[in-house]
């Protein structure tokens, strides 16, 4: 992989992006938890007797 980042990433803007990223990370876990729970109930109700 050839990456040479050269643009100015900013200071406050970079930190703010990181703060927002942490919040989005929480949203990701909530979303994933909700999907796991929904999947669990789907499997229970569609399980063959």
């Amino acid at each position: 992989m050839y990456i040479l980042a050269y643009i100015d990433p900013g200071s406050g803007l970079l930190i703010w992006q990181a703060v927002v990223a942490v919040a989005l990370g929480l949203v990701f876990y909530l979303k994933r938890t909700r999907e796991m729970v929904a999947d669990f109930f789907r499997r229970i109700f569609h399980r063959k007797p």
């Binding site: 040479l4 050269y6 100015d8 900013g10 200071s11 992006q17 703060v19 949203v27």
Partner: protein, 471 residues
């Protein structure tokens, strides 16, 4: 003859040579670009015109052969965009369109495992009124666990904040870009805001929070690369960040309802219907006869005559000093699919050469010189003579430098009501100006093919042909 190569990107450089656009990439960067260009998505973007057409070039194909080609790495050739332009010349609507294109490409590249490594308006040129992304090596293979889009700050500085400043305070884009290479820092807008504005949604996230969080002193910890163990989480964060950009752009989108000095010209101009129709017919017939491939419309105002030129098959560059007018022309060109590139340029004080040693962005006149088959100067000459105090001979000389062939110019005599209005008591300075003086001045560089008086007023149209024509 080669123009100054670009130098900021460590992966290589791009330059213009003998009318062609070449790029050299160092070893490593070339493999990444080749891989990207091979993807179906890149090919589709080139086909639909959103990405500049690019092809690999062998060293033998390079002008002058292998010996003249830069050593190592790989060579590429790009499609040439007819008239390069820069964000300080764009209407805000155009900066918005360029930002939207950048955000869309960044988001659509993500499923391919690619991202953009920079996000600046200098990565975009306009083909007519349509934005085209030209910095192809900006596409880089992403690190799967990296949740941060490093160009976000540049996108904010160069797209969102200038548009926010324009929408809030009417700050022209030229003020943001002429003296600043990389856009506007949040600190710059922060000091203009009162406390209430600092807490409003757009200002809070784009201006206030970045200012409050910015760190003076040693910031190595801030810039250390952090990757997440879960690439799906990193991808999700990045997707949400990139999805937000079009919504932010929508909130700073320029509105069309602001009026300016000249934006309502079509309803307030000095012509009656019959005179205007006569003017239209004269222009139409001249264009049909000459069939110019490229036309420059100086003082284009609403773009009415630019549209006539485009309808006659020309690629048109339309310049006007009024930002609202240029924005209006752009909207019209987009809506009607017209090949018109409108730019905010005051012909009496056109964009200078800018950048490092004034060699990175050539001046407007350097780009325009010899680039057009016909130049239109309708209802603009008297503004140059009266308001800007440019001598008549100098205006015609400038027109002769720019056009390769034709000039269509409207002479407005000192008796005309608009002439008197803009003279503001200085009519005595133009006492010697009359039709004969004007025609004599034209004959220095041009032959007069034909002319007509526009109705019963004090305006005449002249269709001129340059005597020393470029082949």
């Amino acid at each position: 003859m080669s123009a100054n190569p670009s130098f900021r990107d460590p992966s290589g450089s791009c330059w213009s040579q003998d009318g062609r656009i070449f790029r050299h990439l160092v070893t490593g960067a070339d493999a990444e670009l080749d891989h990207f260009l091979g993807t179906a998505q890149a090919r589709q973007w080139m086909d639909d015109g959103r990405l500049v057409k690019t092809r690999s070039l062998s060293r033998a194909e390079f002008p002058g052969g292998e010996a003249m080609a830069p050593p190592g790495g790989s060579l590429y050739e790009h499609e040439r965009i007819a008239f390069p332009s820069y964000p300080y010349e764009w209407a805000p609507e155009m900066l918005h369109a360029a930002g939207l294109l950048t955000a869309q490409l960044a988001a659509q590249a993500l499923p391919l495992g690619y991202g953009l490594k920079d996000a600046t308006p200098y990565n975009v040129l306009f083909r007519g009124s349509t934005p085209v992304f030209i910095d192809v090596p900006s596409f880089e293979k992403r690190v799967p666990g990296d949740p941060i889009w490093k160009p976000y700050a540049q996108f904010v500085r160069t797209f969102l904040l200038p548009l926010l400043a324009y929408r809030t305070w009417g700050v022209p884009l030229a003020d943001c870009f002429t003296t600043r290479r990389d856009g506007v820092e949040p600190e710059y807008l922060y000091r203009w805001c009162g406390w209430a504005r600092r807490l409003r949604p757009m200002f809070f996230s784009l201006v206030s929070m970045p200012v409050w969080l910015s760190r003076p002193g040693d910031t190595r910890a801030t810039y250390r690369d952090r990757t997440l163990e879960d690439p799906a989480k990193a991808r999700f964060i990045l997707e949400m960040t990139l999805k937000r950009l079009p919504r932010l752009l929508a909130k700073v989108q320029p509105v069309a309802d602001r009026a300016s000095t000249w934006s309502d010209y079509m309803s307030t101009h000095s012509y009656n219907d019959a005179s205007f129709k006569l003017k239209e017919t004269f222009v139409r017939e001249a264009l049909a006869e000459a069939r110019p491939a490229r036309v420059l419309d100086v003082g284009a105002n609403t773009g009415h005559f630019s549209a006539l030129a485009a309808a006659a098959g020309a690629s048109v560059v339309a310049v006007d000093s009024d930002v609202q007018c240029v924005g209006g022309i752009w909207r019209r060109a987009q809506a009607q699919g017209l090949d018109i590139l409108p730019l905010v340029v005051d012909f009496s004080r056109p964009s200078p050469a800018l950048g490092w040693r004034n060699r990175e962005q050539p001046s407007f006149l350097e780009r325009a010189r010899g680039s057009f088959d016909a130049v239109l100067m309708l209802a603009v000459l008297h503004h140059l003579l009266v308001t800007e105090r440019i001598p008549l001979q100098a205006v015609l000389e400038a027109a002769a430098e720019i056009t390769r062939d034709y000039l269509l110019v409207e002479f407005v005599a000192p008796e005309d009501p608009m002439f008197i209005r803009i003279a503001r008591g200085r009519e005595h300075l133009h006492a010697g100006l009359n039709l004969q003086v004007f025609e004599n001045a034209c004959r220095t560089h041009f032959d007069i093919l034909r002319s007509t008086r526009v109705g019963e007023g004090h305006r005449w149209l002249y269709w001129l042909r340059k005597r020393e024509r470029l082949s």
